[in-house]
Assembly symmetry: C2
Homo-oligomer: 493 residues x 2
């Protein structure tokens, strides 16, 4: 039975953790993604667009918790099929990799192998929203499925550099740093670190940036007392075990050859480590042959992020220019993309291991960087606003706007109530209009119109001398036929 039907006005609110994007926020992102897509396409990658909805079963990651199948995702159950038992659980995708895994398995007999694909679109996370953390956001991925050769990794690294440049990041403002999970595993082998200890060791390795060589040595052995006197327990490695780990952490040399030689010393006799170094050497060689030198890509053992997830080469693109943080301190902009090789993509579905490597660009981070660099404007140019002095002459005003548009100029007629002319100029201001067009009955009779430079006008309003003010340079009269010419001239100022 229907319950309370008393009319109550609904709240006009975005759901918690979701947001709306207006104007240039939308177009700047689309422009960036279009440019990146063009690079991916030129590299032979094909677009793939899966739907936002997947079965929870195919998404997978959440299945172990069968009592709460929607932890982390937005999920719901389909209505039961009559006579067919309970309905499927469906969910919004939480990334673009899980749908790729499903597609690679579902169409494995039809897709070319290797399969190169790129995907761009929103993903959803059912998480507690926070400042700057939303429950819907964009991802932008490219992956090669079914290629075991590190040539596939080299290709994606080169493509990432091209994509950043196409988006508007200049060469010299970014660096792709490459490492290999196998090298670290070789180091652990050389250091005789037991498998049970590996996670603890990796945790301390991650602190190298913070505590330096001496600090990490303490953390790996007997422990460390910090400035406040608090004691942090050590992992308990012997002194001779620490050597390879620290050699790994300090192996960055003056060039790739030096770094690779240092890594060779760090992994000692580990064949897995040697394999990793050989892969890095191959990747560096291929990139150099393609023209991607150390100004764009370097071997850098300090890339450890994501090493747990990946199985071979890993890489990270970082922007090297400085910005001011919220406290006004200079810091590097930092990471905007990362990726690497992983092998378990399709296995869940088919039981077969399929090698894959891919990259994911942080769409919001890269957009923020482009804004920082002034490449993607936060505010786009508003339209030229044709004002309405005489309601009976709407057709004339529309014809003016159409002429401007035919010349490639963004233009619109004021469509509100034209009675109050002040409102029309306020509207033009709110729209960020650079120019307003005015033609009253007297101007129409004389075959002229007024062109108002609103940018100059705003400047004069705050800075002009009395003489400038009187000369009204921000408004010019021109013949009706000279509309496009006059506006073009003002817009080019």
């Amino acid at each position: 039975m229907a319950k309370d039907l008393k009319p109550r006005r609904p709240r006009a609110e975005t759901p918690k953790g979701f947001r709306d994007y207006f104007g240039a926020e939308v177009t700047a992102r689309q422009t960036m993604l279009d440019r990146i897509a063009q690079v991916y396409h030129r590299h032979g990658f094909d677009a793939l667009e899966t739907s936002g909805v997947e079965t929870v079963e195919a998404l997978g990651r959440f299945l172990p918790d069968v009592d709460r199948p929607n932890a982390g995702v937005f999920a719901w159950q389909e209505e039961a099929v009559p006579g067919g038992g309970s309905g499927d659980w469906l969910a919004l995708r939480y990334d673009l990799t899980a749908p790729l895994a499903r597609v690679a398995a579902q169409y494995r007999n039809d897709l070319p192998s290797p399969y190169r694909r790129y995907a761009m679109g929103p993903v959803w996370r059912n998480e507690k929203p926070g400042p700057g953390r939303f429950r819907q956001f964009y991802q932008c991925d490219a992956d090669t499925v079914g290629a075991a050769s590190v040539a596939a990794d080299a290709e994606i690294i080169a493509m990432l550099a091209d994509a950043l440049e196409a988006a508007g990041i200049e060469r010299g403002d970014y660096l792709v740093r490459v490492n290999n999970r196998k090298v670290l595993n070789g180091v652990l082998e050389a250091a005789r670190v037991a498998e049970a200890q590996a996670a603890d060791v990796l945790r301390q390795v991650d602190k190298f940036d913070k505590f330096g060589e001496a600090g990490v040595r303490q953390l790996l052995t007997t422990g460390r007392t910090d400035d406040s006197g608090a004691v942090i327990a050590g992992v308990g490695l012997a002194d001779d075990q620490v050597g390879p780990v620290l050699a790994f952490l300090t192996s960055k040399g003056a060039d790739n050859a030096a770094t690779l030689a240092n890594l060779g010393a760090a992994v000692g006799g580990s064949s897995l480590g040697a394999e990793g170094i050989d892969e890095l050497s191959q990747i560096a060689g291929m990139l150099a042959a393609m023209g991607y030198g150390p100004d764009r890509v370097v071997v850098d053992p300090s890339v450890v992020r994501g090493l747990g997830y990946y199985t071979g080469p890993v890489f990270e693109a970082e922007l090297t220019f400085e910005i001011l943080d919220e406290k006004g301190r200079k810091r590097q902009f930092g990471s905007v993309a990362g990726g690497g090789r992983y092998d378990d993509l399709v296995e869940r579905f088919t039981g077969q291991k399929v090698p894959a490597t891919g990259v994911s660009i942080g769409v919001d981070r890269l957009l923020a960087a482009l804004r920082e660099k002034g490449v993607a404007g936060a505010e786009a140019q508003g339209p030229v606003v044709v004002t309405v002095m005489d309601r009976d002459r709407m057709a004339d005003y529309h014809a003016m706007a159409a002429e401007l548009r035919a010349a490639g100029i963004r233009a619109e007629v004021y469509l509100g109530n034209p009675k109050n002319f002040g409102n029309q100029l306020k509207y033009a201001d709110k729209r960020g209009a650079p120019v307003a067009i005015i033609q009253g009955a007297d101007e129409a009779a004389r075959g002229v119109l007024q062109v108002k430079d609103l940018v100059l006008g705003a400047r004069i309003a705050t800075q002009a001398s009395v003489e400038e003010w009187k000369s009204q340079p921000a408004q010019v009269e021109c013949p009706r036929e000279a509309l496009v010419e006059t506006v073009t001239e003002i817009l080019s100022r």
Copy 2:
């Protein structure tokens, strides 16, 4: 407690009613939407992107059925907030108008008024899927909120014509037909049709295309017996009441002036009808002044679709070229876009009536039309495939692909296992590659490579004479330095 955790392989399947889009299916749509967006932007419309998720409360349409809040939409309930009662019901948006209404109400103090916005993106419907009917599909809308003047309608009609041409529909292949709900209401007034009867009358009016003037006259009065002898009851209007309705249905004249005059006779003394005709006349006048003549826009009283929903001007864009239907019969392609004026957009939220007018382009229909016209290719050009004869020389092959890309040519290196060369050519075929590059050790030593024209090769394989076959015109050897030049020449054939 977790239940059965026995490993079972998940099914790799798209959920029922959803589909995946590959390659050119994605890029052709994106190209079309980008072109349309550019037209909208140039007309002063701003992009708006709301999230896929809204509160069920804000979406609205489904609220009356409080026991089944998810009828027609995909909905789920948020987890309860501790101490805060039950969680909100959220849902995927089912169109782009409901989110616009929410935005127009939520930001009413910040948005310019009138607010012109366009939106493009997926919407979701929880309906029984059928052939060609999916539960996620794209919409592409433009609306002006807060403009009472029919100048806003004229603008959107003109913009629709521009958008169709920008997408690739040639002038002459489309026609925008304009009508006005007020005219029909005026006709009902003139015919003294009681409000309770209006819906019945409208239903018969809709059958004009099928039964013609005589048939509809029967349906409106005493009823009609069809060929099988079945009797369809009539609405019961008197003969003199039918006059205005049939005059309306047959009012299309040789030009807009004639049509408007005929409509004037049909509405008789109804002031509402006269108002509708005046609006149509104004719209036609403005469009003519902007250069949109009867080859692109006409007043046409037969546009009745959606008349129930709209409150003033309505319009429909139809493609006039013929296609063959599934039975091989010729028929017009038909409608690809429609829109009109509606007034209840924001009222649900604020209690205030806000005039609005808008257009929605049927994304899949228009894409199908572009494919029909050969404008949007179903298959895009595959990449040039650089084959791998010698695994140690991957860097050289990558350098070739990079050179081709630098010249703007889509190119990739084969990244599968190179042992079986036949597999590489099969792969190139599957990718739709126009050209394959081959360089073995001997060619490398001589500083040359082989360029294979796969398009010509495929033709020769089926059609060539023995002489042609022997001369192998589909494969040429060229100096390594002439790679780009040679490929460019072949691609331009």
